[in-house]
Amino acid sequence: MRSRTKIIITLSLTLALAWAGWQYAPIPASTTWEDSDIALLQSMSLDALPPLPSSPGNAVADDPAAAQLGHQIFFDQRLSSTGTVSCATCHQPDNYFNDQLALAVGVSQATRNTMGLLGAAYSPWYFWDGRKDSLWSQALAPIENPLEHDSSRSQVAHLVSSTTEYRQQYQALFGNLPDLSNRERFPVDATPLGTNSQQQAWQSMTGSDQRLVNDIFANVGKVLAAYQRKLQPGESPFDSFVAQLASGEPATALNSTEQAGLKLFLDKAQCINCHNGPLFTNNAFHNTGVLPPIGELPSPGRSEGLRQAQSDPFNCLGPFSDANPGQCSELRFARGGDELIGAQRTASLRNLAHTAPYMHAGQLDTLAEVIEHYDQAEDAIFGHNEAKPLGLRAIERRQLQAFLESLNGEIAVDGKWLNPP
């Protein structure tokens, strides 16, 4: 009996040790990189980032005067019902244009995690669910969201019209502003999307007056986009590592643990499938089985977001866009449907350590939790989880995390754009 107990204890200890060894013992990590690997890594380096894509819907996208006006409006708290919220309230320059919160807080708590703005101009779609198809159109939505700026398009039009320096800059860019002084014709607080009184005020306006206000509102979005196009990510240790590999120098910018994590990123962990290109995102939509926040219904994601984008008067094909229809291929050829239920936009992984918490509603606090989530890849409770379980060992999860933390760098923009003007 005693010897049987001994055998059981010995066997249990051996199994526990073997399991711990398997999970935690580092395999000597290969730091050899084939030419094909280096070519793939070069496609993910900031050196491979193409020039900013044109923004056909926004005629002032690259106008320096528009960027200057957008810079001022970006930091202007008068664009809110409380006078306390600007774009920079959630998109904080000191926090990589993020807010370090699970859910954004404007005039009250919103329902989504703040998305970063660095490199945002490269995406064809905006918001987690892709309900906007341009940076200029995206900039309009938070202004009228009752949880964020809680303002209205007529308030914005009156602000631009009544602030001398805005008025002058606006008119230099877009021509004369209409006279909005008649408050019967142009109510102070009117929008088709707001409260009953805001909607009634909007309905009291003639169609041509509504158009005048909408034009000003759209143009404010366009100058905000012109400013945000300046916000780009800077080089990280990963980019230095790729440059070293490509030039044949000793590749020391990533240590052996980070290099092992990079190999996992490309291969076993399959991160590269969606987090590809120099911004580590395909800007597409995927359901990866992320649970909704406790007590909330799952998000319909892109399946609903595309419907909203298609019916948005401020989309690429709408009357406020400067594009011709042939330039709106993303919107014209977008694919929706039930397959995209619960699908959210792939986020950039650059500066990842500065953008926690993660996922569309900030459900996961740490990178370790994110890696665990993808490692398990449990069935989605809504729609279909595209990801498959990865079977990562504990040591591999740590290596992957070490690599992901090497993607942090500076913001590549003149410091004057990072402070209020």
Binding site: P124, I272, C274, N276, G277, N283, A284, F333, R335, E386
Partner: protein
Amino acid sequence: MMRTTWLPNKIIITTLFILTSTLLLSKKTIAASEWETQSQPPGLTLHLKSQQTPVPLNQMHQWEIEVISSQGTPVENADITVTGGMPEHDHGLATAPRVSGQPGEGKYLLEGLRFHMPGEWKLDFVIMIDNKRYQVEHSFSL
């Protein structure tokens, strides 16, 4: 005993050989982004060509489809629809591509293609000509 097992085995192997040969012969890679493939039922040859070489990742781009009859003549006025996806990941295309023009000589312009992941992609072409339905399955790696 040996004979009774040998005969079905031979039939299976021969069938597999014929099927494999048919599949191999039915598709020809001309370049990294250009292929020639046969329809089911037989009768059409499709010449597929991406207008960007190699086929780009994450970029909206166009393909040209050339439809040729078994007599070697270009086929005009075909109605072509395209769907597809990544079987490995069990999802469809990121976009809804459509034929948007017919420059002539059996050529069709396919607009709105964007492949957003590396890996094996499958495109399913349905070609309707005078109410007759042809299908082409085209797989390629990105």
